[in-house]
Structure formats: C-alpha cells, structure tokens
C-alpha cells in the first residue's frame, strides 16, 4: 500500500541558512504521525513546503504514491492536503460558514454555495463529532472552537491529509485533550494526521509514529510505542538533557514586593486585571500560571511600571505606588526592579540595534555608559564581550544586529542585561519562549542562581512544565483574577490545568457531591 504522503530528498535554503536538508519522510495512510524538533529545527519550513508556501530547492512530494507538483496552497488543497496553522488563518469578523467556504465558494454568487456548505458542514460535524454553530462570528468563539473551524475548513476542502502546526500552544490542557480525541476520530475515518510540535508529552500521548528533526535534518524515525520521552529529547538536541531543574529548597525571607487589589481597565472599559494581590519574598521564585491572555501581561506591565494600575497599590523598596502616585518603568528600574518582558521583539530589544547597544537599553542613562557628552562605546563593548562570554551567547559578536541572533541567544542578551544589574526583584515573562532546549537549561540555571543569592523572582510562563520545574510557589490566573495559589510541591499538571480553566472548584464540588 502506498504511503499517504512521502517526501523525497527535500532541501530548502534561505540565503546562508540551510532550513531543510535532504528530508525524507514516509507517512502510512490513516496514522497520526508526529514531527518533533526544537524551534528552528526546520519543521515549519518543511510544512510550508508541503502546503505550497515555499517551493523546495530540490526533491519532490508524493501523495498516495503519485508524484505531485505543489507550487501554491491551491495545489496542496487539490492534492488533498489541509493545514491547521499555529496562528489561525481565520477572518475574525466572518461567520464560521463564511470562513469555511472562503476559497471554495462553489460559484460566483454565494447563495447556492452557502446552502450546500451548510448541509456538508452538518455532515462533517456529525461524522467527526465537530459540533459548532455555523452562523457564529469567529471572534466570539473560544480558541478551542476557532481551531475546530480550521479543521472543518480543511475537511470541507476534502483533505485526506491534515497537518497541524503546534496546535496546542493556545489551548488549555483540557482543550488539548479534546483536540486529541478529535484527531483520533479523524484517524478512525482514514484521515492521515501530521502533528508538528515541540512538546514531547503530546507526541507520546497521541501519535503512532514520530520523526525527529534537528538543525534542518530528519535525524530519526521511531514507532511511538517503542520510544520514550528521554530518547526523543536526546535526539532533538543531540545530547542528554534534563527536563527538570536541580534546585535546593527555597529559603524565602522578607517580603520585597507586595501588591494589593491591583485592577486595571482597558480602553474599552473592560476590567483586565481584577483585584490581584500577591507577596514576593526574597529568595523565592513565584510562578504565575495561566493560559495566555488571562491578565498575566497586564500584571507584568503594572508591576514593572510600564502601565499604571487603576485601583490598588504596590509596596516596593519603601515606596507606595498607587494610581495617583505612579512610577514609570525607568523609576522602577532605579529602585532595582528588573524586567524581562514577555515579547522580546516588541519590548525587550530593538532588533535593528547591534548587540552591544541592545545590551544597555533601559540603563543607557547610567553614568557607567556615558562620558560628558557622548556615550562611552568602549565600556559598552567591553562589557558586552564579557557578558557574551559569561552567558555563552553565540556568535559572540557585539556588532551583530540583534535580529540576526537566534531566539535563545536574543533572550540571553536580554536576561543578561537585566540580571547583571543585580536587581532586588526580577520580573520575567516567558523566559524560554522560542528558545531551544540547550539554552533553556542555561536560562533556568541562571534564574535559580539569582534566587539562591537572595533575590525575588516573579516568573510568568504559559509553559506548565517550566512553571512546575522552576517555581517555589505557584499562583494561577484566570480572566484577570487570581484563582488559586499552591505550593510547588503540591502542584501537578491536572490540578493546574483545571485551575487554568477555572474548573477546579467545580470539579471539587463534583467529587464531594
């Protein structure tokens, strides 16, 4: 029986970067096939080639044993390939129905096509248990359902091969479980699923076979039943890695920062931060868990002084900060609060700056870097060289533009900048987003080291593994409010997941009843 999809010697080069090199892949029909690799391993490039976004330099693709020429997304769709992108490709103010028929309207006038599509969608929804209100406006749907629209879009176009690119990044654990049940149902109906992810847990839980990519090459193919997380992790990075962080028991002492009843409204008057109170002690890491967009970013912005709260107060370094007496980000820095923002491209770096310039941002007025009139380039360069050596930033070239470093190395530049100022409190958002495993280890070690030197760290991350590995104490946020707090020792994935979906209390009540 021919393979549902087979890649033969696919290579793709972007300038100096060899994104894909001689990739071969065989996926039997009706299986779920995982492709795992670090960020930048070339997974997304490969999928973009299959979906016709890029053309491969060499090699070709076969579908059901027949060679296909895929030069555009339309060719891919015609070949029966559908894709669910990491960032949904939906028109938000369109209805579900309009989104599904876009590009497959069935005639120049919508009327006829829409009627047929409605019937077809009902059939699909029934067959794969993908229930959805087809007249709902997409932006009013929760992300889990938006993803379902994407899946329906692909199936409506007759996809027999479904590619999902990092599908669980925006989902709660419960939504993710639901997704995997859907994928199993698709598989039972004979659909072939390609699952791209960097999460080992998902690969182990849902796939039949798995292929590992590293630095643009396909380095291994395994049957999921005959492999392990550790085995795959090793293949991904090419060396033994620990997925846990070695750290001693925390020794929390005095409260360095306390916040009471912080609230913030957005420009539409919606309360984004709801009466958040917390205490941060010297020598501990306080983790804030939550699905992205539940007030964590607002909390970081308020604490770091980037935006002002509307209600509540912050006590820090002997100062009381309120809406009437705010302090801006520079003033907070002067009080020895450092901040590694969640989005390093938007807030942490100026990507057009050279590394040594980016390495002083926020501290650029410090007398250390300034002469009488001009900035002291030599001091800046020397310091940058030292830090690059100490933090293992590659390539160690202070004149390289920050945009040209990999994600992990950019993040090291940002974290080094903040940590080396020896702050009392470090706010750190998504420290390892888009960072490869080797660098994650390094960054985690540095965070623990800072804690052990008696500093306080507030960690915001959407990665549960990271929260659980690093934190001493965990706060869970949902819809702008704190919905739970627990000691890291008592935390497990299920409890946190339920709290993140604000379903923990219901579940407890269900148990007692």
């Amino acid at each position: 029986m021919p393979y549902a999809i087979e890649l033969r010697d696919i290579s793709k080069r972007f300038g100096a970067v060899q994104a894909n090199k001689d990739i071969c892949l065989q996926v039997p029909a009706g299986t779920i096939h995982g492709i795992i690799g670090e960020n930048g391993a070339g997974k997304s490039t490969l999928m973009s080639i299959i979906y016709g976004f890029y053309e491969a330099d060499t090699g070709h693709i076969e579908v059901d044993g027949k060679r296909v020429d895929i030069r555009s997304s339309q060719d891919a769709i015609n070949a029966g390939i559908g894709m669910v992108h990491q960032h949904f490709m939906l028109v938000e103010n369109f209805s579900v129905l309009e989104n599904v028929i876009l590009g497959a309207e069935g005639g120049a006038v919508l009327k006829n096509g829409i009627g047929a599509a409605r019937i077809e969608l009902q059939r699909l929804a029934h067959e794969y248990s993908l229930d959805i209100d087809v007249d709902a406006i997409v932006e009013e749907l929760p992300v889990g359902l938006q993803q379902r629209v994407e899946i329906l879009k692909a199936l409506y176009r007759g996809a027999r091969i479904l590619i999902l690119d990092e599908p669980t990044g925006v989902l709660t654990p419960q939504e993710a479980d639901h997704l995997f049940r859907i994928l199993k149902a698709l598989k039972d109906q004979g659909v072939t699923v390609l699952l791209i992810t960097h999460k080992l847990r998902e690969i182990m839980a849902s796939t039949d076979n798995v292929s590992v990519m590293r630095q643009g090459e396909m380095v291994a193919h395994r049957e999921t039943a005959h492999t392990s997380k550790e085995d795959l992790a090793e293949l991904m990075v090419g060396k033994k890695v620990r997925l846990t962080v070695d750290k001693d028991e925390a020794q929390p002492s005095e409260v360095l920062l306390s916040a009471q009843n912080l609230s913030q409204f957005d420009s539409q008057g919606v309360k984004r931060l709801k009466n958040v109170s917390l205490e941060l002690r010297a020598g501990e890491i306080l983790g804030i868990a939550g699905v992205s967009g539940n007030g964590q970013s607002e909390l970081l912005n308020v604490l770091s002084g980037i935006t002002s709260m509307d209600e509540g107060e912050i006590h820090f370094a002997g100062q009381v900060i309120t809406a009437k007496a705010p302090k801006d980000a520079a003033q907070m820095r002067d009080l020895k609060m450092a901040h590694v923002p969640e989005d390093r491209h938007k807030m942490g770096l100026v990507t057009g700056f050279e590394a040594y310039e980016a390495a002083v941002l926020g501290y650029h007025n410090s007398p250390v870097y300034n002469g009488k009139i001009l900035m002291n380039r030599k001091v800046m360069l020397d310091e940058c060289n030292e830090r690059m050596a100490a933090w293992d930033v590659r390539p160690p070239n202070p004149h390289l533009k920050t945009a040209n470093f990999s994600g992990g190395n950019q993040q090291k530049i940002v974290i080094a900048r903040e940590v080396e100022q020896n702050p009392e409190v470090l706010l750190i958002g998504q420290p390892t987003r888009g960072v490869d495993i080797g660098a994650i280890e390094n960054i985690h070690e540095q965070i623990v080291k800072l804690r052990d030197s008696g500093k306080a760290i507030l960690l915001v991350s959407v990665e549960l593994d990271e929260i659980m590995a690093l934190s001493d104490r965990i706060i869970v946020m949902f819809d702008g409010a704190v919905v739970g707090e627990l000691d890291a020792k008592d935390a497990d994935e299920r409890t946190l997941g339920l709290m993140m979906a604000n379903a923990y209390n219901e579940e407890q009540e269900g148990v007692s009843a």
Binding site: S44, S48, F53, Q74, V91, I101, K111
Partner: protein, 322 residues
C-alpha cells in the same frame, strides 16, 4: 417652501454624485486593505482626461472612456507601489495627488494653451440631462408630480448611474464570491492566501474597480456637471469621499447617506451665499463649506461610535517566513 426644498434636494443629488462614485471607489479599495488617499488625484486626472478627449473627439462617451482609462492607470500605479512593492499606501496616494495636480495643468497648457483649462464643451461633448417621459405634464401635479419632474427627472445619466451603483456595490460586496474574498483580504490576507487564493490578484482587481468609479466621478465633474476642465476642479471631493467612507463605516448604504448629507450641506452652502440672517448678518460661505468636515470629526469623536475599518488596511501583505 416645498419648492425650495425640492430645489435643494435636486442640487444635493447633483453635488453628491461624484462623492458617491468616489466613496464607493474607496470602499472597494479599502475593503481590500488598500488605503486610498489618492481618490482626489484619480478624480482630477479623470476630469482632465475626460474633458480633453471630449473636446478633441466631440463625444462625451469617448471622454468618459479616456477618463476611466486615466483613473485606472493611476490606480494601477498605486497598486504597483503598494501591492507589488509593498510601499506605504499614504505616501503613494499623496504622490499621485501631487503629480496629478501639476500634470493636468501642465498638459492642459501645452495642448490647449488656455491657461490650464480645456476648451468649453458643447453639444454631444457633454452628458446632457435626461427628461423623463411626461415630466412636463406631471409638473402641475402637487408634490408627487413635482418630485417626479423636478427632483427625479432632469439629471444626466451619470447621476442615475451613481445611485444605481450603491445597490450594485452592496450586492457585489456581500453576495458574491468576489465580495467575500475582497472583504477577507482586507481583514486577514493570510487566511485568503492559505485558502489558495492570490492576495495580490484580488487587490489589483479591487483597485481596477476603484479606478473605474473614480473615473466616473472625474468625468462627471468635467463633462456633465461643468463644461470643461478647470485647474484643481476636484476641490477636495476625494478627501470628502474618504470622510464619507469612514463616516459610513465602509458599508455601502451608510456611505450613500453620508455622501447625501455632505452633498446637502454643500447645497445649503451655495444657497446661503449672500443670505443675511437677522441678528447675525451675512453668513460667510466658508463657515458652511467647512460643515461636512466638522461634522465628520464631531460624529466620529463620539456620536456614532468607533469607526473600525478593515483590520489589515494599509499593511502590505508579506508571506511570513515561518
């Protein structure tokens, strides 16, 4: 009193016509994600081309063809800059306005040597007013007859076309495949691209329609409303159309109403010329001419709520390198 109202509404229709064409032109362009501040330039360019061709060939229809051709040409330059080369939409639009403002006068001097005007158009070189059947007979019937013969009858064909274009646009935008894709491309071009449709092709087609409609607006000005081209005769109509487009929240029927409101204020301004209001004195015309703009700012500032445009507007589409 009623007769005055009829006369003012009649004037409103005439003044609104180019606004309606231009605002609908902007609607196609902006719904597809292309900011079009160059409406003004396209109107002016078309006005000149239409008047010049009409003068040379003695036919308003040939003039109209040239007007549309000029306007579509300018729209394609805008497309080449903004779609193909991902340039800044505002810069390209302003450049078009500036070039056209200078070029029309220069060419006109060179070809006709009449101080920047084109020769006065007579006879078939202009679009003439169409009188509906029995209009004369109906005039004596009160109200209905007056509306029929004085308000509805007696306009040139372009006026009627402008009003017909509103339901047509509504149908195209909301009821056809092209309209669905056009709206999608203005909201999230990535969604369109991944659905296997060319973003650029849709945007170019939207700009062609935009060019045609601006061409009609310009030709109306120089070969129907007036009898020849005058320097800067578009007189900010493109900008006013843009204001009407925002005011009408990029939707055909509200846009029509905004154009009619602006046209009505314009008609009032003409009517108020030299009128002395007791206690105030003579009202400066400028005070009324400024009303559409003041109104737009005021209404947008709070009375009609936030005007949320197409989400991807003004942003060049770049295929993401994953």
């Amino acid at each position: 009193m009623f007769e005055t109202l009829i006369l003012m509404l009649d004037a409103t229709m005439r003044v609104s016509t180019p606004l309606i064409f231009a605002a609908l032109a902007g609607l196609y362009s902006e719904r597809a994600g292309i900011v079009d501040i160059g409406l003004e330039g396209k109107i002016l360019g078309s006005a000149f081309a239409a008047a010049a061709a009409a003068a040379v060939f003695g036919s308003a229809w040939i003039g109209l063809c040239f007007g549309i051709l000029a306007s579509v040409g300018l729209a394609m330059i805008h497309g080449f800059a903004c779609i193909t080369h991902r340039g800044d939409h505002i810069v390209s639009g302003v450049a078009i306005n500036t070039i056209v403002a200078g070029l029309t006068v220069t060419l006109s001097m060179h070809w006709f040597g009449m101080g920047g005007q084109t020769p006065a158009l007579v006879g078939d070189a202009r679009f003439l007013d169409i009188t509906f059947p029995f209009a004369d007979a109906m005039e004596s019937v009160p109200i209905i007859g007056q509306i029929y013969s004085n308000l509805l009858s007696g306009h040139n064909i372009l006026v009627y076309l402008a009003f017909i274009m509103v339901p047509v646009t509504y149908w195209v935008i909301y009821k056809t495949r092209f309209g669905l894709r056009l709206r999608a491309v203005g909201e999230n071009p990535h969604a369109v691209d991944t659905a296997g449709i060319s973003v650029s092709f849709i945007r170019y087609r939207a700009l062609i329609i935009c060019g045609i409609l601006c061409g009609l607006a310009g030709a109306y000005l120089s070969t129907a409303h007036n009898a020849g081209f005058l320097k800067d005769m578009s007189a900010g109509k493109g900008y006013m159309a843009l204001a009407a487009l925002i005011f009408g929240k990029w939707r055909p029927v509200p846009v029509l109403l905004a154009c009619l409101l602006f046209g009505f204020l314009d008609a009032v301004a003409v009517r108020m010329q030299g009128v002395v209001i007791p206690g105030i004195g003579e009202v400066p015309v400028q005070a009324i001419e400024v009303l559409p703009y003041v109104l737009t700012v005021l209404l947008l500032a709070g009375f009609i709520g936030k005007a949320i445009g197409p989400k991807a507007i003004g942003r060049p589409y770049v295929k993401e390198r994953a």
